[in-house]
């Protein structure tokens, strides 16, 4: 944090300064505008409350109601049914529970593969663009383009590539290379999972690339020089210099990518036109479809809350483990 660079006695109330042994100026200034920072935050807080916090609380409440199509127009009439929605949707002995569990496993596999591949490509791109060479700026701009595209145009373009009869993928695989005899379907059936994965990696790897590139800018050249003089080859330098120095970036990047990918709605929604095949039924799509198909918002909310709890537990566990490792190191 940049606060430590402030001279003691700067014209802002700063508890750290007070602790640093020069309490006089800080204490004298404090009563001047004690409310100002809060006033500055009011618009942001109001909006966050209105669109995120309150709806989240309402969502938790909705998950305890029998909020079916009969009660949506006037939700005050919806009866309170306690945890029945959770029992109905999370019980793996029912059809709904089995479908949700299936969707969970599909989402988990999709997320782990997509994040892993996006990170790998981002890392490769950042490392090969680390040193200056002619054309580097052009390539960097090119690599960032998939991330800059609006998600729906990127995914629509991919769905054109993946069309069975008019797409590039089958044209190359079947007509030009002759690898396959039949034209496979890429957007329905078992292949749809892999299509979804490729599209998501194409779209997300530039974000990993951007973050890792930013992280690499902080790695001093002298470290590479020194390790090269010590006789370290490319992989050794990657393992002993680059990766340890990128650790802080990676910790955040992997968690953010995990959460974004796990919650991904846009890619499957646009790629499959609103109805994901069973093999690519990601959890966001699953909740969306089951909520708006049956207009049962109560059980939809129950699934959303369960999803949130799962993500909170995973994130907390991740942060605990990575922090503990750092303390031991």
């Amino acid at each position: 944090m940049a606060t430590s660079t402030t001279a003691p006695g700067a014209a802002r109330p700063d508890r750290r300064d007070a602790r640093a042994g020069t309490p006089e100026p800080a204490r004298r200034r404090r009563p001047r505008r004690p409310l100002l920072p809060y006033l500055l935050l009011v618009p942001a807080i109001v909006l966050e409350l209105a669109v995120h916090v309150v709806p989240m609380a309402v969502g938790a409440w909705m998950s305890l109601l029998e909020l079916t199509q009969f009660h949506i127009r006037d939700w005050s009439t919806a009866p309170f049914i306690g945890l029945d929605n959770y029992r109905a949707t999370l019980d793996i002995h029912t059809a709904a529970g089995r479908e949700l569990l299936h969707s969970f496993w599909v989402t988990l596999a999709y997320t782990l593969l997509s994040v892993g591949l996006a990170w790998l490509l981002g890392m490769a791109g950042a490392v090969v663009l680390q040193r200056p060479f002619r054309g580097r700026a052009v390539l960097r701009a090119l690599f960032l383009t998939p991330y800059a595209l609006p998600v729906y145009t990127a995914v629509i373009t991919w769905s054109f590539l993946l069309q069975r009869d008019t797409g590039l993928v089958n044209h190359v695989l079947v007509d030009q290379l002759g690898l396959l005899d039949d034209r496979p379907f890429w957007l329905i059936g078992g292949n749809s999972f892999w299509s979804l994965l490729v599209v998501s990696v194409w779209r997300n790897w530039p974000f990993a690339f951007l973050c890792l590139m930013a992280g690499l800018q902080n790695v001093p050249d002298e470290l590479y020089e020194a390790s090269a003089i010590d006789g370290a080859g490319f992989w050794r330098r990657l393992r002993s210099v680059t990766l340890p120095l990128l650790r802080p970036v990676n910790l955040v990047l992997l968690l953010v990518l995990f959460l974004w990918t796990f919650n991904d709605f846009n890619t499957p929604y646009v790629l499959f036109g609103g109805s994901a095949p069973e093999q690519a039924d990601l959890i966001s799509i699953h909740i969306y479809r089951s909520s708006f198909k049956t207009w049962d918002f109560g059980s939809g909310s129950a699934m959303s809350v369960a999803l949130l709890l799962f993500l909170l537990v995973v994130s907390a566990g991740y942060l605990l483990i990575t922090n503990r490792r750092r303390d031991h190191a």
Partner: protein, 279 residues
């Protein structure tokens, strides 16, 4: 430090593969936008049999693209400007003041960014519908509702990036202004903001892109009159036909401005990310 031959070839191969992976879909988008309809109906062609700009003309009449475009422009611009205005004040408070709840605020705001959108969708949908029924404030299926929703989507990251920029502006400048008798708001507007213009522009573009590309809420919270591009572009597939050449032409037209804006400002995004990652 000299590069070995193996490293040089490795670098070339990796660059080629990555570039091909990125370029092929972009190439198809651009070339297909210039194809006559029969080129995209009967199999795939690498190059238009007869390059034409007709798709760029026809795309406006197949679906009401102009209306979607205006809706997206209005919603995204207003959301971006409001989001940045709100973020500037919040970032100023977080960067320049130490107050109780500062840490809680930063963590809470950032963590909402990580929550599943579907979690807010159902309650917000009901809140907007019921609010319209009881008070007559039409947020459901209106552009106002979309503006309010989208501006909070970009808010967390905008605040985070702006705090990074503001932190990098020397506090000596603030102090000099205060010695001259400027209050906090004048310091913000006359000292800090002018020094942070690139950051503010980058954050505005980011907020615009967020609203421009949002799909989930657009698919539920809009009707035919307020529909944005995110949903509207899917209208090119009819029961009998998908006008892929027009879809690609429309995709190209709605992508070029945001891609150009992003690429022009990319080094500021990198700077913002670095500033954030150092924390």
């Amino acid at each position: 430090m000299r590069e070995t031959a193996g490293e040089r070839w490795g670098r070339r191969i990796v660059l080629t593969l990555l570039a091909l992976f990125v370029v092929i879909p972009l190439y198809v988008m651009v070339t297909s936008a210039a194809k006559p309809l029969q080129d995209v109906q009967n199999g795939f062609t690498w190059w238009p049999s007869r390059p034409t700009l007709q798709p760029f003309v026809d795309m406006w009449s197949t679906v009401p693209l102009a209306r979607y475009l205006v809706n997206s422009l209005v919603v995204s611009s207003i959301a971006a400007v409001c989001s940045v205005a709100v973020a500037i004040f919040a970032a100023f408070a977080v960067s320049r003041y130490r107050f109780r709840g500062r840490g809680v605020f930063s963590v809470t705001v950032l963590s909402t960014q990580m929550f599943p959108g579907i979690l807010f969708l159902l309650p917000l949908f009901l809140i907007y519908v019921n609010l319209g029924n009881t008070t007559g404030i039409e947020l459901y299926a209106s552009r106002l509702g979309l503006v309010i929703t989208y501006l909070t989507f970009s808010l967390p990251f905008s605040i985070w990036m702006l705090v990074g920029y503001f932190d990098s502006i020397p506090r000596g400048l603030d102090e000099a202004a205060q010695v001259d008798g400027a209050g906090p708001l004048r310091t913000l507007f006359q000292v800090i903001l002018p020094a942070a213009v690139p950051g503010v522009v980058a954050v505005t573009v980011y907020a615009f892109m967020t609203a421009w590309g949002e799909v989930l809420f657009a698919s539920v919270m809009t009707d035919e009159g307020s529909r944005t591009l995110a949903v509207g572009l899917q209208g090119y597939s009819t029961q009998f036909n998908v006008y892929w050449n027009q879809v690609m032409a429309a995709s190209l037209v709605v992508s070029v401005p945001v891609v150009a804006g992003f690429l022009a400002l990319q080094r500021y995004f990198v700077a913002g990310l670095t500033a954030g990652a150092v924390k």
